[in-house]
């Protein structure tokens, strides 16, 4: 089974890191194959940022995502730019605080997660919005195991912030569980 995921937003939201965490979780902890690629604007902060992950049980030849199975849009601009690429019946996850303008007709599953809002209200750190998104994404889609995700988060985030980030993942997972029910 091969899943193509695109996470997009703006620089500074941890979009690239989110992809790296997913890839690492798949390869190092779930022993799957994964490839992560990225692109971003010339500015270090604030420009468009995109991280793409292909996860598969078999060798991955083509490393790029053309039509993602899952699109996580962390900004309106990202949604506008990439929603057309999403596979029919794919999954679209948006940060409901930042993405208000949604397409009127669609055949994909749409999930609106208030990740940024929860991040700043409950954690006092908007930067953990990406972790909430990852927790949600993984509980919803199981592209990697939750255990692998947590291990990967611990290894990838700055020292001293592990617990906060894990909590944010957990928070996202809870939202996901509610949705699934």
């Amino acid at each position: 089974m091969k899943k193509e995921i695109r996470i997009a937003g703006f620089g500074g939201q941890g979009v690239v890191l989110s992809g790296v965490i997913l890839g690492k979780a798949a390869v190092l902890y779930d022993r799957k194959r994964a490839i992560q690629t990225q692109s971003y604007g010339a500015e270090a902060r604030g420009g468009g940022a995109r991280s793409e992950i292909v996860i598969s049980d078999e060798d991955i030849d083509y490393p790029k995502v053309i039509n993602p199975d899952i699109l996580v849009a962390m900004s309106q601009q990202a949604l506008d730019k990439y929603v057309k690429d999403l596979k029919p019946k794919g999954i679209l996850i948006v940060d409901s605080e930042l993405v208000k303008d949604l397409p009127e007709d669609y055949i994909f599953s749409l999930y609106r997660v208030p990740a940024s809002q929860i991040a700043s209200n409950e954690f006092g750190r908007i930067i953990v919005a990406n972790m909430i998104m990852l927790g949600f994404l993984v509980s919803l889609t199981e592209v990697v195991s939750l255990k692998a995700l947590k291990n990967s988060v611990r290894e990838s985030v700055p020292k001293g912030t592990e617990e906060m980030n894990i909590k944010a993942v957990e928070r996202g997972r809870k939202i996901g569980e509610v949705v699934i029910k």
């Binding site: 790296v20 690492k24 390869v27 994964a34 490839i35 992560q36 690629t37 010339a42 030849d61 083509y62």
Partner: protein, 382 residues
């Protein structure tokens, strides 16, 4: 915890895998200058080299970086630099110097959109011919094209081994895509990594006794600090290293021997990856382009169309005999490059009319060929 030896499974960026390959190959000197998309190699080397007793030097420019690694190599140290197009252009004079003085070193070119400043973060295969003929004069080079993070590791080691064995700079022609992409890299135990060391002269001897500094079978390298009293010069020199710049015979002798050193050992240097079977159509690719070819072949197989694949791992010296053999076995050759046609001219020459050669760049330069685009093309020509 000691960071000296890195082994096991990693989820690693191509650039980082390249740096780790260099460390594993025994590289202990890196000189560079920041440039996207090669900067991560420098950053990794800056962190790793002091941990293993090596030295990282951030030079004032790429001219200086290339110069510094040549200087380091002459002390017997394995040395590398990494850059992208604009930096390579600045390094080319000293790359020529390394060729003329038979200095082992590795030059990594993480290619980006070009000409000129071009596009720093976009991938491209625009510097293929530059690696062959970029510096002035007549010479042979060695260039390898990795197509995965794992190969960024493996081929960096291979590049060092070839450089050390043949006393010449070796190019690793990566691109922005492979440099920045993360995927799994398995780093074997140190004992499993094959390291070739350069040949040194047997004992302390004067250069006058040392009669084979130009040798088509690669002369031992009289490195500095051992009393060899080496005279190293990029100017035309004879087999004693004596500068002789007004003599056609000396020029003829030096240029021919330096070239022969590579061409004579082509069979040993060249590595290709060929899967032909009974197919009449074969896709020739290298570097990242090969990834698209693999996907396309898988898709074609589902439609019961069997096409072959021929990948150049060694771009230079050019595997003309291998291509010539290939041409006799197939009817059509589709050459995929992420440029407007560089290696394809060499392929056409090697094919000698034995098969039809079709050139296929991506629809949009810089992007990876889309697999269904390749599939459509194959179905069209079949």
């Amino acid at each position: 915890m000691s960071n000296k030896v890195l082994t096991g499974l990693h989820f690693m960026q191509g650039d980082i895998a390249c740096a780790e390959g260099a460390i594993a190959a025994g590289c202990r000197f890196f000189a560079g200058y920041p440039i996207t998309p090669a900067t991560e190699i420098a950053e990794r080397m800056a962190k790793r080299l002091p941990e293993v007793g090596g030295t990282y030097a951030q030079m004032e420019d790429e001219l200086g970086s290339m110069a510094a690694i040549i200087g380091a190599s002459w002390t017997g140290t394995r040395a590398m630099t990494a850059t992208s197009g604009p930096g390579i252009s600045l390094m080319l004079e000293n790359i020529g110097y390394a060729i003329a003085t038979e200095t082992p070193c590795v030059v990594v070119n993480v290619q980006r959109g070009a000409p000129s400043t071009g596009s720093a973060t976009l991938s491209f295969q625009g510097d293929i011919l530059q690696a062959r003929r970029g510096s002035h004069g007549e010479y042979e080079t060695i260039a390898l094209a990795p197509s995965s993070s794992q190969e960024m590791f493996d081929l960096t080691i291979k590049a060092f081994n070839l450089a050390e064995k043949f006393r010449t700079p070796v190019f690793l022609l990566a691109d922005a895509f492979i440099g920045h992409m993360r995927e799994e890299v398995l780093i074997p135990d140190k004992s499993k990594i094959n390291i070739v060391k350069r040949k040194l002269p047997p004992c302390k001897m004067s250069l006058n006794e040392y009669k084979s500094s130009l040798d088509e079978n690669v002369a031992p390298m009289p490195i500095f600090g051992h009393g060899f009293k080496s005279h190293v010069t990029g100017s035309t020199h004879n087999s004693y290293g004596k500068r002789d710049v007004t003599n056609y015979e000396a020029l003829d002798y030096e240029v021919k021997l330096l070239s022969k050193k590579i061409s004579k050992h082509k069979r040993e240097i060249i590595s290709v990856d060929s899967e032909i079977k009974d197919s009449n159509v074969v896709l020739i690719s290298y570097g990242t382009t090969y990834r698209a070819v693999r996907e396309a072949r898988k898709m074609l197989k589902r439609d019961n169309i069997n096409v072959g694949s021929f990948r150049l791992i060694t771009l230079w010296p050019f595997p003309e005999e291998e291509i010539e053999d290939l041409a006799k076995k197939v009817k059509k050759i589709i050459v995929l490059e992420n440029n407007l046609g560089q290696i394809v001219t060499y392929i056409k020459a090697a094919v000698k009319g034995e098969a039809e050669v079709i050139f296929l760049p991506p629809q949009v330069l810089g992007t990876l060929h889309k697999p269904d685009y390749i599939v459509d093309k194959v179905k069209e020509v079949i």
